[in-house]
C-alpha cells in the first residue's frame, strides 16, 4: 500500500470513528431505556405467554343465540385481573371490592341466615317444587349449592342450572352484615377446580359461565 493510500485509509478510519462517536454515545445513553422498552414489550414470564400456566384461572362467559343473526358472545376474564381491578372501582354500591346491600333481608328472606343454615346442614335437597309451570330444585351436593329451574310455562322450555361451590358462597357472605365480598368470592373461586357455574338454555339462547385454566373458550 502506498503512503498516499495508507494516509487516506487512516484518515477515513479516523473520520468514521469520529462520525460514529455520537452513535456510540447515544447507544450508551439510550441502552437502559432500550432495555426497559424491551422488558416492557416482550412477553417475559411464562404466565404472560398465550398458553397460561395452570395457576391462571379464567372465568368464561359464552352466549350463543340461535336467532336469525346468530350472535355469539365470548368473554374470557382472568380471575386474578378481576380480583385486582374490582377493589379499584368505587362507584355507587361497589366499594373496595364489596357490594353494599341495603338489607340482608330480600323479599322477607334472611339470606344470611339461609346461607348459614345451608352451610351447616348435610348434603340433600332443600327445596323441590314440581308444577305444571315450572320445576325448582335447590340442593347441597358435594359442597356445592345447586339451583335448578325448569320453566315449562311457554311451549318453549327454558332451563337454568347454577352450581356454586359452598366455599365461594361463604366467602361472598364473609364481609360485614350488609355487604357481599366479591373479591373474597373470586379468590375462593380461583382455588376451585374446573367447573361449570351457570348454564341457561332456552329456545333461542344458550348461556354458559364456567371456570378453567385455559385463556380461550373451547
Amino acid at each position: 500500500m502506498s503512503d498516499r493510500k495508507r494516509g487516506f485509509f487512516a484518515k477515513a478510519v479516523r473520520t468514521a470513528t469520529a462520525g460514529s462517536l455520537p452513535i456510540l454515545l447515544a447507544a450508551v445513553v439510550l441502552s437502559p431505556l432500550g432495555l426497559r422498552a424491551q422488558s416492557t414489550a416482550a412477553p417475559a414470564s411464562p404466565s404472560q405467554s398465550t398458553t397460561s400456566v395452570p395457576k391462571d384461572r379464567w372465568l368464561h362467559v359464552r352466549v350463543i343465540s340461535s336467532d336469525a343473526k346468530g350472535e355469539t358472545v365470548r368473554v374470557n376474564v382472568p380471575l386474578e385481573l378481576a380480583e385486582k381491578v374490582l377493589p379499584a372501582i368505587n362507584k355507587d354500591r361497589l366499594h373496595a371490592g364489596k357490594v353494599r346491600i341495603d338489607d340482608s333481608r330480600v323479599n322477607d328472606v334472611d339470606v344470611r341466615a339461609l346461607v348459614d343454615a345451608i352451610r351447616t346442614s348435610k348434603d340433600g335437597e332443600f327445596v323441590t317444587v314440581q308444577s305444571n309451570d315450572c320445576d325448582v330444585r335447590v340442593a347441597k351436593q358435594s359442597n356445592h349449592l345447586i339451583i335448578h329451574v325448569l320453566d315449562k310455562q311457554n311451549s318453549k322450555k327454558s332451563e337454568v342450572e347454577v352450581k356454586v361451590p359452598m366455599k365461594v358462597v361463604d366467602a361472598l357472605f364473609s364481609a360485614g352484615k350488609d355487604e357481599l365480598d366479591l373479591v373474597a368470592a373470586l379468590h375462593a373461586l380461583s382455588a376451585q377446580g374446573d367447573t361449570e357455574l351457570v348454564s341457561v338454555k332456552d329456545h333461542e339462547n344458550t348461556v354458559r359461565v364456567w371456570l378453567d385454566s385455559k385463556n380461550v373458550t373451547d
Binding site: 469520529a18 404472560q48 405467554s49 350472535e71 355469539t72 381491578v85
Partner: protein, 145 residues
C-alpha cells in the same frame, strides 16, 4: 469535504437513533370509518413513545384539569393496564353475528379494539406501556398528589 462528511454522518446517525427511540414502543393506531353521508374518516398513526414525551410540554393547568376529569377512571385504568400487561396475547371479549364483529384483545403487549360493522369500522391499537405512562403522568398531576 471531510468535515461535511462528519457532520452528515453525525446528523444521520442521530436521526436514525432518534427515529429508533421514538418508534421503540410501536405506534398508536386509530382508524375510524363511518359509512354514512357526512361520516367521519379518521386515520391516525402516532409513535407511542412520543405521547408521554409530548405530555411533558402540556401546560400544568391543562394536565391538572385532565387529571381531575379522569379522576374516577384513573385508578381503574391503572389497575386494568397493570394486569393486562400480564396477558400480552389474549382475547378478552368477542362478539360476532352475521354482520358485525367486535373484539377486545391484547396483541403483542398492545390493547387492540376492533369493531367491524356495516355502518362503521373502528380499529384502535395502543401499547399498554403507553397507556400506563399516560395514566401515571395524569395521576402525578392530580390535585393533592
Amino acid at each position: 469535504m471531510m468535515l461535511l462528511a462528519k457532520a452528515a454522518l453525525g446528523l444521520g446517525s442521530t436521526l436514525v437513533l432518534a427515529g429508533a427511540y421514538t418508534m421503540r414502543e410501536g405506534v398508536i393506531r386509530i382508524d375510524v370509518d363511518e359509512f354514512r353521508s357526512g361520516g367521519s374518516h379518521v386515520h391516525l398513526w402516532v409513535p407511542a413513545a412520543a405521547v408521554p414525551m409530548a405530555m411533558h410540554f402540556v401546560p400544568r393547568e391543562h394536565m391538572r384539569h385532565a387529571s381531575e376529569e379522569a379522576r374516577e377512571a384513573l385508578p381503574i385504568l391503572h389497575a386494568v393496564v397493570k394486569e393486562l400487561k400480564k396477558y400480552p396475547d389474549t382475547q378478552f371479549v368477542e362478539i360476532e353475528d352475521s354482520d358485525q364483529h367486535v373484539q377486545i384483545r391484547t396483541h403483542q403487549g398492545k390493547l387492540q379494539i376492533d369493531v367491524d360493522a356495516p355502518d362503521q369500522k373502528v380499529h384502535v391499537l395502543c401499547p399498554l406501556s403507553t397507556i400506563e405512562d399516560v395514566t401515571s403522568q395524569l395521576e402525578e398531576h392530580a390535585p393533592g398528589a
